[in-house]
């Protein structure tokens, strides 16, 4: 035995790596919708395959982390809390995958009026994910600072800012749904139903990003 047996590999670096992968998934979504709007089926399929591939990467890393986080490790944060943050991180990738899958399965048409609000919503939700990634990237700084003090305050205010971004996405989502409602009669009824589903899922991207931030508060609090 030597001193190094005492210091187990820190779980924080893999956490940050996982979040980067999950947000890469989210970053593919705007391109996905551009392809949909342009009616480019090949591009759509390509984007969807890419998202599926990245999502599997995220899953593998997540499972790897779960295996390598035994209960006997003493960490500055609660193990349960850390695993919950991981779950929400992973949900971002999962939702992106759901969206991509549905867009390829059903041939959606995008009414002209929907294009702008849709783009705005997607952009804002992805930016929520990016912001959430910034928070997760603060993990090693938090560790150095001992999860307290100025650094903890910084991260706390970042979480609050993220709450604000998510509120904006809620409003944009409602705006999009309103436009959808106005054009319901021009569209196939079943498509409309699934459009509401799509809008819900896009919003979920931001929701999960926000949850990551909220769980982070628990990590710090202890």
């Amino acid at each position: 035995m030597s001193i190094f047996d005492l210091l187990h590999k820190s779980p924080f670096k893999p956490m940050q790596e996982h979040m980067r992968i999950a947000v890469r998934c989210a970053n593919e979504v705007p391109g996905l919708f551009e392809a949909l709007i342009a009616g480019d089926e090949e591009e759509l399929k390509r984007r969807k395959d890419e998202i599926f591939r990245i999502e599997m990467e995220a899953d593998n890393l997540k499972n790897d982390m779960r295996i390598h986080l035994p209960k006997r490790l003493f960490m500055p944060v609660a193990r349960r809390d850390l695993l919950e943050v991981l779950d929400h991180q992973d949900s971002i990738a999962d939702v992106a995958q759901d969206i991509a899958g549905l867009l390829v399965e059903r041939k959606f048409e995008v009414p002209k009026a929907l294009e702008e609000p849709l783009r705005k919503l997607v952009a804002e939700c992805v930016s929520a994910c990016e912001f959430s990634l910034k928070i997760v990237e603060e993990l090693d700084e938090l560790l150095t600072a001992g999860f307290r003090g100025k650094e903890a305050d910084r991260v706390e205010s970042m979480c609050t800012e993220l709450n604000g971004i998510e509120n904006t996405t809620d409003e944009l989502g409602m705006a999009l749904a309103t436009v959808l409602f106005d054009h319901e009669d021009e569209m196939k009824p079943i498509s409309v139903v699934f459009w509401y589903q799509i809008i819900q899922w896009i919003g979920d991207l931001a929701d999960h990003a926000e949850k990551v931030g909220n769980r982070f508060r628990l990590l710090i609090a202890q």
């Binding site: 030597s2 001193i3 047996d5 590999k9 003493f74 500055p76 990237e137 700084e141 150095t144 307290r148």
Partner: protein, 423 residues
């Protein structure tokens, strides 16, 4: 008595060789672990660690190692026991047996990667031969009780001190708006602490065996002076740290860590010093016992002085051990510890060194490795480390249960062999 007169030189040679063997084991194992933390946090290269160890292990042994050596030499076995008075050579056999037992146990255990405390091995071995070779009552059980208690308490003390240190670092430096600027301000104070504490504990009321007597006030003054000198040197080094990429996200603390990297040079020295003050005795104490009996022609006295050359044998042996096998251990630790950043390493090492040096001053043999483990845990409790494997504590407990009897039994066996050969 005649045996001693006849075979005295033989005994001295055997004892010297076996003591060197034990010292080599201590260097390859114990010291490698102690210096490994500095290598692991990139404060020193392996080569620099060996140089630091060379200077400060010796210094620790010579300046501060006398008390623990005295305990091991004469504090565990009561030399006024009637069996010993009649057969003083039994003490010679026993001490040689103890060294052989502990040394071999060290070899076996480290080969298998078991956690091993050199201190526990030698104390267990001495108690072992004391029980069978001389008599149950010849062992100073109350002393053993104190020592055993300190084996439990010292890692806790190390942990507590480390916790206080890392919290102070968090509050004074890491928590500030400008951590790097704060680090440059506070670093000299911390470095002063290193020099001051180690000096004070060592010099308090003087160095008996070097015939230097200090009053309490002089002790404080000299220690303060040494502390200031060390802080000044440190201050010069710190000035060389340039701020690199301070604006970047990752830059904020990496500059602080670079300052602590320089600070760790001083704690690395103090770790080597502390280790020398406590663990050289494990190899040298028994040798000193043999030397004093042989030189007095069979008289087992409590009062004999400690020849400095005996401490030197221990120091040399340890260094050879560190430079040969310990080299690899430190290099391995170096590549595998990425989590112990300098700010953490500094606090853990200073806490451990302080605790060990205090124990050395009070003449109590302790396990430097276990204290270092306790100190690292203390840092972890302040939420300063990513993940600490608590399984290590189970292995430490196991090692206690196994090492003490193993050392004792091996020593008993070797004692009987010695007695059979030499009568």
């Amino acid at each position: 008595m005649e045996i001693i007169a006849d075979q005295g030189t033989v005994f001295l040679i055997i004892a010297g060789v076996v003591s060197l063997f034990m010292a080599w084991g201590i260097g390859a194992n114990d010291l490698a672990n102690a210096m490994g933390t500095s290598v692991g946090s990139k404060a020193l290269t392996v080569r620099q660690a060996i140089i630091v160890a060379a200077i400060f292990e010796f210094a620790g042994a010579v300046l501060a190692g006398g008390h623990v050596t005295g305990t091991i030499r004469k504090g565990i076995i009561d030399s006024s026991s009637p069996v010993l008075l009649e057969n003083p050579q039994y003490l010679v056999y026993g001490m040689i047996a103890a060294l052989l037992a502990a040394g071999i146990w060290l070899l076996v255990a480290s080969h298998r990667g078991w956690p091993v405390s050199t201190t526990h091995s030698i104390v267990g071995a001495i108690v072992g031969f004391g029980i069978v070779g001389i008599g149950f009552d010849s062992v100073a059980w109350s002393k053993i009780g104190t020592i055993a208690a300190s084996w439990v308490i010292s890692p806790l003390v190390g942990g507590f001190v480390a916790f206080v240190l890392i919290r102070s670092v968090q509050k004074l430096i890491l928590d500030r708006e400008e951590p790097f600027a704060a680090a440059r301000v506070w670093a000299p104070f911390y470095i002063f602490l290193v020099g001051f504490i180690i000096s004070l504990v060592t010099l308090f009321k003087g160095l008996k065996h070097l015939n230097l007597a200090f009053s309490v006030e002089v002790s404080f003054a000299v220690s303060g002076g040494i502390g200031l000198f060390v802080a000044a040197v440190g201050g010069v080094l710190i000035r060389r740290v340039q701020a690199v990429g301070e604006e970047s996200q990752k830059g904020r603390f990496s500059n602080v860590e670079r300052v602590f990297g320089y600070m760790m040079i001083f704690t690395a020295c103090s770790m080597a010093f502390a280790h020398g003050s406590n663990d050289v005795a494990n190899a040298v104490g028994p040798l000193a016992a043999v030397v004093s009996i042989v030189q007095s022609g069979g008289e087992v006295t409590q009062k004999a002085g400690l020849p400095v050359w005996v401490l030197l044998i221990g120091g040399v042996g340890i260094l050879i051990g560190l430079a040969t096998m310990g080299y690899r251990v430190m290099a391995t630790i170096g590549t595998k510890i990425t989590e112990l950043t300098p700010s953490r390493g500094f606090c853990a090492e200073l806490a451990a060194a302080t605790t060990v040096v205090i124990a050395s001053r009070t003449g109590i043999p302790v396990s430097t490795t276990h204290i270092l483990v306790g100190s690292v845990l203390g840092v972890g409790l302040a939420r300063g480390l990513g993940a600490i494997d608590m399984r290590v504590f189970g292995t430490i407990a196991m090692s206690w249960i196994v090492t003490l009897p193993a050392g004792a039994i091996l020593a008993m066996v070797f004692f009987y062999i010695m007695r059979a050969i030499f009568g």
